[in-house]
């Protein structure tokens, strides 16, 4: 991706002993700012804990919620262990089917995070390619692509996602749909939000392509593909990093909302959204923990990502700092 940096590093290595990667990180601006911002440090720590716990769910979780042989219906709706009716065995209580909430939440968070990251990777891929082409080519291609982006943006993601998933669910049937749900969610959220990336990238490309190094690359006879991806793209990365955090938070929220509507992950393989959804009917009978605890985890996850995004925006681009 960043050839030039690699070459730089090689040159440095010849002159003096190149600083190790860790040293380079420690000397960087970002690290300096990071160690002086308590909010950012706490957010990063919470995010790391949530992320690791979710990714290592199979190792940490006391039971496997997908394995029905572990589940005893007699254990259903047990309150969290700290309340009076709670039991030692189930730290966060159990849901209506008798699954351990702690394990289910870990596995659910894993699915939510996976969908969030994969969907944003897809968005970034489509958006970067289209944005680079639109910005670099300019003219009619640019006009057309940005018009398409406008139209796509004016239909909100949720609207598009709800309609598309609803139609697919209705035509596939619930059975088949629940097997494909994860990939459908990634596809839909990924495709619906590409204009965010395309616009950001296009704006940076417009500024970058007037600079001398692009001119130089052109004179050296490099093709447009190479100039776009090897020369311009590495210089447009910081805004991408900033919107990526916001986009991941949004994607996780969208996934939860869609699952809550019953258009996302099935109850047998729940994400945080479908956990909240399946607990919602029991809130009236007093079993608040089935809904509230996964809800709190979801909010915490999204909140720390948003806070990190805010911090990153301020550090990388002090000019657009607006608060």
């Amino acid at each position: 991706m960043t050839d030039s940096i690699v070459i730089d590093a090689n040159i440095n290595a010849n002159v003096e002993a190149a600083p190790s990667r860790w040293q380079r990180i420690r000397q960087s601006n970002i690290w300096y700012n990071f160690t002086r911002d308590k909010v950012a440090m706490v957010s990063a720590a919470i995010f790391a804990v949530l992320f690791l716990a979710a990714m290592l769910a199979p190792l940490i979780a006391p039971t496997n919620p997908y394995d029905l042989s572990n589940v005893d219906i007699m254990d259903s709706e047990i309150a969290p262990s700290w309340s009076e009716e709670g039991e030692e065995r189930f730290l966060l209580g159990t849901d209506a089917q008798g699954r351990d909430m702690f394990s289910t939440i870990l596995y659910g968070a894993r699915i939510s995070i996976a969908i969030g990251f994969l969907a944003v990777m897809l968005q970034a891929f489509i958006g970067i390619v289209i944005g680079l082409i639109a910005g670099y080519r300019g003219g009619r291609v640019d006009n057309f692509l940005m018009r398409v982006a406008d139209v796509q943006l004016s239909f909100s993601t949720m609207m598009v996602a709800i309609v598309v998933l609803a139609v697919f669910q209705a035509s596939f049937g619930t059975e088949l749909y629940s097997q494909l749900a994860m990939w459908m969610l990634i596809l839909v959220i990924g495709i619906a939000e590409w204009p965010q990336y395309a616009r950001t990238i296009r704006a940076s490309v417009l500024a970058e392509k007037k600079k001398e190094y692009v001119e130089a690359a052109r004179v050296m006879g490099f093709g447009p593909g190479r100039i776009m991806f090897r020369h311009i793209l590495p210089n447009c990365l910081s805004p991408i990093l900033v919107i990526s955090t916001v986009q991941i938070a949004n994607a996780i929220i969208s996934e939860a909302a869609l699952s809550f509507l019953g258009l996302g992950m099935p109850v047998s393989e729940p994400s945080l959204g479908s956990l909240i959804s399946s607990g919602f009917e029991y809130i009236f009978s007093g079993s608040w923990w089935i809904t509230v605890i996964p809800g709190a985890v979801l909010v915490a996850l999204v909140l720390v990502i948003n806070l990190l995004g805010d911090w990153l925006r301020d550090v990388l681009n002090p000019k657009i700092y607006k608060g």
Binding site: N143, V151, L153, S154, F155, S156, T157, M158, M159, I162, V163, A166, V167, Q169, A170, S171, A249, I253, A256, A257, F260, L261, G262, L263, I276, F280, I283, F284, W288, T291, V292, G295, L298, V299, V302, L303, N306, L307, D310, K322, G323
Partner: protein, 327 residues
């Protein structure tokens, strides 16, 4: 101005055309109309004949043409479930959704403007920090969770407000529009859904108004107005706020689509008898005509509102080049 209007209308028409194409292909591919009409006992030959008579074997274009012609006349098919024209079913539910959106918009306007302006004027007070802190929390809480938490707190724990529906005391207005605005019971039912719906937009608008206001306050003309000795309130709310509202209106226009989408979520949680709830039920019942009618009605509302917002923007901001070529 006319050219601009024309371009906007053309864009709206293109969008409507795309929506109609999508709706039609949904109708074409979802379910078999014959199965809805006749039972299992009809022989294959009879089915074929029926297909010919109904025009189901015609080419895609012919069928699409027929669909458009009918749609123009307001005929979007008959709902399988309600056995009534789909358009009538949708329009019957529209007042509930409109009232919800209207109430939420009122809440947004009367909360975000004072809050945003306050945060800009007094950047270092505790209240400002609290407002900004809550607003980032607000962005991170999905609307259905706001709804669920508020039901849990205000309906179940405290028992102050009803948790679902619109209540029984609706007052009929003209043309079958029943409003919940005129009775205490109706308003009580409206509070939680409207606040939940407003809660997704509020943080966004507070932050936007604040940042724009901060920028405006540092401009020369505001300093000049202050130096002239004008009352502070007059400078803030008359001089500065006016210029703050431009980007707010643009963002507001873009957010309308999001708002419509989130009515589906809010209405589902509160079982609010509006279009969004109806749409989700229609999806679960595979009630194709109703799904199509919803798409076309919502798409239409959407295009009209977007065009209006653009026009208003053009009218109040003289620097926008309405007939602009390559932007």
């Amino acid at each position: 101005m006319l050219l601009f209007l024309f371009r906007r209308l053309m864009q709206g028409l293109v969008v409507m055309f795309v929506i109609s194409l999508i709706s039609f292909s949904i109708q074409d591919n979802l379910g078999d109309p014959l199965r809805e009409m006749v039972g299992q006992a009809v022989s294959e030959a009879e089915r074929q004949q029926l297909r010919d008579e109904l025009g189901l074997n015609d080419s895609f274009l012919t069928q699409y043409g027929r669909f458009i012609t009918k749609a123009m006349q307001g005929d979007l098919g008959t709902s399988y479930f309600f056995k009534e024209p789909a358009l009538d079913v949708i329009l019957g539910k529209m007042p509930a959704t409109l009232e919800l959106v209207f109430a939420a918009t009122l809440i947004i306007i009367f909360t975000s403007i004072p809050a945003g302006v306050y945060c800009a004027i007094k950047p270092n007070t505790l209240l400002t920090k609290a407002i900004l802190g809550i607003s980032i929390l607000g962005i991170s809480v999905p609307v259905f969770l706001t709804a669920i938490f508020s039901i849990y707190l205000f309906s179940i724990e405290l028992g102050w407000l009803p948790s679902y529906g619109r209540g029984d005391e609706l007052v009929p207005l003209l043309g079958g529009w029943e409003t919940g605005f005129l009775t205490a019971d109706g308003l009580k039912h409206l509070i939680l859904p409207a606040v939940s719906l407003a809660s997704i937009m509020l943080p966004l608008f507070i932050r936007l108004i604040r940042s724009e206001m901060v920028e405006t306050l540092s401009t020369e003309y505001v300093k000049f107005a202050k130096a002239k000795g004008l009352k502070k309130a007059r400078v803030y709310f008359l001089h500065a706020l006016k210029n703050t509202m431009l980007p707010v209106i643009t963002v507001g226009g873009v957010q309308i689509g999001t708002m419509v989408a989130y009515t589906i979520l809010t209405e589902t949680v509160f079982q609010w008898p509006g279009m969004g709830f109806l749409f989700l039920e229609a999806v679960n019942r595979v009630d194709t005509p109703l799904i199509v009618a919803y798409l076309i009605v919502v798409g239409g509302v959407f295009v009209v509102v977007n065009t209006l917002v653009d026009l208003i923007y053009g009218l109040i901001n003289p620097t926008v080049k309405l007939a602009g070529g390559n932007a």
